[in-house]
């Protein structure tokens, strides 16, 4: 039986039919008989002492089933934990109650919840909840929050410093002393709002008879949510089932364990009704974790020939009002350790202060720490080039880790698995016809047009990751992944993965992997995920890990199927097991290819169990738990070409070219889609998006009318290309691609804008490069 080769093929997605016909089931689509609706009442104050919360009027409203305050939850709902306790940083973990009891610390913090028989009744009743507070001074800027005399947000956290973390290697002081050039630059990597198109929601159903609690929720990692919610709610893990149905995007914002889902589950347990909750977009902006938000003072030391010898920096990371689930790890492990980029920079001294402010908590947002690192390093490289009057491409080449040096341990201590940075850069330069562009640019400048090119040669840490390392850096979990491959009696296959894709297309790519490994037609393979009662323990989808780790688990499980199949085939073919080969879905005898059994025939016999070899267990399924030996390190080279209008400050992207290397590619169509989406978010940060708070802690960009999610007309067509450097430790050579675009693109755009404005002597403008900011820089440079 010939099976079309599907690994590496550009095939369309198998999840799409339900999504394009409106028949997919997202959390908010779920209806259970007797279901009630909840509204969480949120603080309009950034910082205040709660004097009184009165839910009596709300309780009396028609249709209201119950109303609760933080006091009602005390002793029943435990505080919301942080799950990344980075060691050696004096990390403070002040309690985070599910509903505020005596103090609110950010606008949007929940103070009460109302349960009613209809959406309207719940909303009406929520407006009847009386909250009396004594407003306190608020602080939203992390540097101001560290100053003496700043409002103290938590007891026992002096100067609001949650942690102080440091990575240091080599002799940085000496490198700076011996440098030919030293550049100092403060940069701001501003706050973003993830904006998954589907806001968060959940439905909780509690069976008082059995004690079982089921929560359907918008989750990127249902098993992590089960562990954490089990502890918060005091429900044994085996009584708690988390289901992530169709999930409408996450980008990191659906990793954390929030208070809201715990509160809703509490309501279901208290009332006995199934209870639904869903945030509207404004709530999403206030109550779902934000991303980025650094202020960083950077210094770079270099030699005359462009060799970068050291980077030194102090990063002030705004954590918001509470420690979100992974928050401490994002600006440290996922950020500070990437401060060498793809370069052989031997000396690093980088410290990070994590600081509480009266703002929405900050956690992972697509790229999570790595876009920030890439932005700083790539801006610094361009600054070195400018100062030395060198081509930015040459400075990059000068400092690249050579391809024959892998695996390579950078100064921050992590070991990059493989890379060929020169190759991706060469490919990029060829596509953009670099020499010609520089000529065109000269001509444009003479005509008074501001044309520029920006490069970003990046490397990212993906495929999270080895569990021992996770433990060593304080992650309160593991990062292996599970896969179960079940070949049914008829030869059809069900795959269960512990990762939890929500748009990334693994129902297709995983089926491609299984089809390749087992020689079974892709139509006969179904990939399931997102239900803790059905799926073996796994760690979810984030950190570009689903294919990189989950795909490896799947490979191992498939190999186990083949091994078991060989035993049975040998028995049925009356041959020795060593003589059985497996190819294209057929077990056959070496040298006698006609003596064969298809995997479907073997599966049927394995289930019938009428004629099994001695000691052979019936059935044909295998489970694998794969813990990777290292992270994966995708890389690439991006270029952005812009034209800046000097009269308005408007930046127009004329061309965007992305050359990515994510190792071997399972499905190029899906990889392109991942790159495009990442680019949109990275370009969004560079040009449009900005979550802005006023000094009172009010989010001024609190709706989609004010926060600039990029529109179709604001983005260019993207040109993509790839080089392919397999990961040496991944059984299929895969690396992951979910975050490349976001990580690479922000500095490419920023470098392009600064490059365009070279004739004006502009060296740096903080992102987002909105027209007013760019215009102000131009006016200042022109002395206007």
């Amino acid at each position: 039986m010939a099976v079309t080769r599907v690994f590496g093929a550009r095939i369309k997605r198998r999840e799409d039919p339900r999504l394009i016909t409106g028949t997919a089931t997202y959390t908010d689509d779920i209806v259970i008989p007797g279901m009630c609706y909840t509204v969480i009442v949120r603080s309009p104050y950034a910082h205040a002492r709660i004097k009184r919360i009165d839910v009596e009027r709300a309780r009396k409203h028609p249709g209201v089933v119950a109303a609760f305050t933080g006091k009602d939850l005390e002793g029943k709902v435990n505080p919301i934990p942080c799950a990344w306790l980075i060691p050696g940083s004096d990390l403070k973990t002040p309690p985070h109650p599910a509903l505020a009891v005596d103090r609110v610390r950010y606008v949007g913090e929940g103070v009460a919840v109302v349960v009613a028989t209809s959406r309207h009744a719940a909303a009406d009743a929520a407006s009847l909840v009386e909250v009396e507070v004594e407003p306190l001074p608020a602080v939203v800027n992390q540097e101001k929050a560290m100053q003496p005399g700043a409002p103290q947000i938590h007891d026992g956290v002096p100067n609001n410093v949650a942690f102080h973390w440091k990575v240091s290697s080599g002799d940085v002081g000496r490198a700076f002393q011996e440098a030919d050039v030293v550049i100092r630059q403060r940069m701001v990597n501003h706050r973003l709002i993830p904006n998954a198109m589907e806001p968060r929601s959940c439905v909780a159903a509690y069976n008082r008879g059995s004690g079982d609690l089921t929560i359907w929720m918008t989750s990127q990692n249902p098993h992590i949510h089960r562990v954490l919610l089990s502890g918060i709610l005091g429900i044994p893990e085996h009584r708690l089932r988390i289901i992530a149905p169709e999930v409408g995007g996450g980008f990191g914002s659906k990793i954390p364990c929030y208070a809201d889902e715990a509160v809703v589950a509490f309501c279901a347990m208290q009332t006995g009704h199934p209870v639904k909750w869903g945030e509207d977009r404004r709530e999403n902006y206030l109550a779902t974790a934000h991303g980025r938000d650094h202020i960083v003072d950077l210094e770079v030391a270099a030699k005359k020939d462009g060799t970068i010898t050291a980077i030194r920096g102090t990063c002030y990371a705004n954590l918001g009002a509470y420690l979100s689930t992974a928050a401490p790890g994002v600006p440290t492990i996922l950020h500070g350790l990437m401060m060498c980029g793809p370069y052989t920079i031997p000396n690093i001294d980088y410290e990070v202060y994590g600081i509480f402010t009266n703002t929405t908590p900050v956690d992972a947002y697509r790229g999570a720490g790595r876009p920030e690192a890439t932005y700083y390093v790539e801006r610094l490289v361009d600054m070195v080039a400018r100062k030395l009057n060198m081509d930015p491409v040459e400075v990059r080449r000068k400092n690249f880790i050579p391809k024959d040096k892998f695996p390579y341990t950078v100064a921050t201590g992590i070991t990059y698995d493989s890379g060929d940075y020169e190759a991706s850069l060469e490919t990029l330069l060829r596509i953009i016809d670099y020499p010609n562009f520089r000529k065109e640019q000269e001509k444009a400048w003479k005509e008074g047009r501001y044309l520029g090119i920006g490069f970003s040669t990046y490397v990212e840490i993906c495929g999270l990751g080895p569990s021992q390392v996770a433990g060593a850096v304080g992650f309160q979990g593991a990062l292996w992944e599970s896969a179960l491959v079940r070949v049914h009696p008829t030869g059809k296959v069900t795959v269960l993965t512990g990762a939890s894709p929500h748009g990334q297309g693994e129902e297709t790519t995983f089926a491609q992997i299984v089809s390749e490994e087992l020689g079974i037609p892709i139509e006969d393979i179904e990939v399931l995920h997102g239900d803790t009662e059905m799926i073996p323990m796994g760690w979810g989808t984030y950190g570009s890990r689903t294919t990189a780790v989950g795909g490896a688990a799947l490979f191992v499980a498939c190999r186990r199927i083949v091994e078991k199949g060989k035993k049975l085939a040998a028995h049925l073919l009356e041959a020795s097991e060593q003589d059985i080969l497996f190819e294209g879905g057929r077990f056959f005898v070496k040298g006698a290819p006609d003596r064969a059994k298809t995997i479907q025939e073997v599966a049927l016999q394995a289930y019938l169990a009428w004629n099994l070899p001695a000691g052979f267990e019936p059935a044909l399924e295998a489970t694998a738990f794969y813990d990777p030996p290292n992270f994966t390190y995708p890389f690439g080279a991006h270029a952005c070409i812009v034209e800046v209008d000097p009269e308005t400050g408007t930046v127009k992207i004329r061309r965007y070219v992305a050359v990515d290397d994510c190792g071997r590619v399972v499905n190029p169509l899906i990889v392109d889609g991942q790159v495009h989406g990442g680019l949109a978010q990275g370009i969004g940060q560079a040009l449009y998006e900005y979550a802005y708070y006023d000094d009172f802690g009010q989010l001024l960009t609190g709706s989609m009318s004010d926060y600039a999610v990029p529109k179709a007309s604001q983005l260019p067509p993207f040109e993509t290309a790839r080089t392919e450097t397999p990961s040496p430790h991944h059984p299929l050579g895969l690396k992951g691609v979910g975050e490349t675009g976001t990580i690479a693109s922000t500095p490419a755009v920023a470098n392009a804008v600064v490059d365009a404005l070279q004739p004006l002597g502009i060296h740096h403008i903080d992102i987002p490069l909105t027209p007013p900011r760019v215009l102000a820089a131009i006016r200042q440079a022109q002395g206007r």
Binding site: K12, I20, M197, G249, A712
Partner: protein, 165 residues
């Protein structure tokens, strides 16, 4: 107070009594159970709730159900006919025009409106026409390809992209 309304949705006539403040999107989702139309914001920015009302794409989170009294509505559930995908659905599938799928129903209805008005749109025209619909996953490029695919397909088949075909 409840107000009687009569609405034709995807060719079926429905009679209900609704609260005057009920939004059309909730009427579709929670009264009729047509959950293919999604809600992504409360400010008419995202377009996830886009449906056709009397042949015009509207954001159903900004239309009251009572305003739809007597109207003909087309939702994503009405795009395919007799088990045949609409060329726009086909385009989104073929060209990987969706990832999480949440914006897709509204996006496809907006694309339908565009192709009704302009059967052969340029890339810039497609991007302009979809400005009222936000997608956070795709970066729009594959959506543009999907709409082009649909335009080509409809031209070839000579099918007019009328509401619900």
């Amino acid at each position: 107070m409840r107000v009687p309304i009569s609405v034709t949705v995807n060719g079926t006539v429905y009679h209900h009594e609704v609260e005057p403040r009920l939004l059309l999107v909730y009427y579709l989702r929670e009264v009729l159970g047509l959950t293919g139309t999604h809600i992504g914001c409360d400010t008419s920015n995202c377009g996830a709730c886009t449906v056709m009302m009397n042949g015009l794409a509207v954001k159903s989170c900004t239309v009251l159900a009572v305003q739809a009294n007597g109207a003909e509505i087309l939702t994503v559930e009405g795009l395919a006919r007799d088990g045949q995908l609409h060329p726009i659905q086909e385009g989104f599938w073929e060209e990987h025009g969706l990832q999480c799928g949440y914006c897709t129903p509204g996006m496809m209805i907006a694309a339908l409106q565009l192709l009704q008005r302009n059967p052969d749109p340029s890339e810039a025209e497609i991007r302009h026409a979809l400005e009222g619909n936000l997608c956070r996953c795709t970066g729009y490029q594959h959506i543009v390809n999907a709409v082009r695919y649909a335009a080509r397909k409809m031209k070839e088949s000579g099918a007019m992209p009328v509401g619900g075909r």
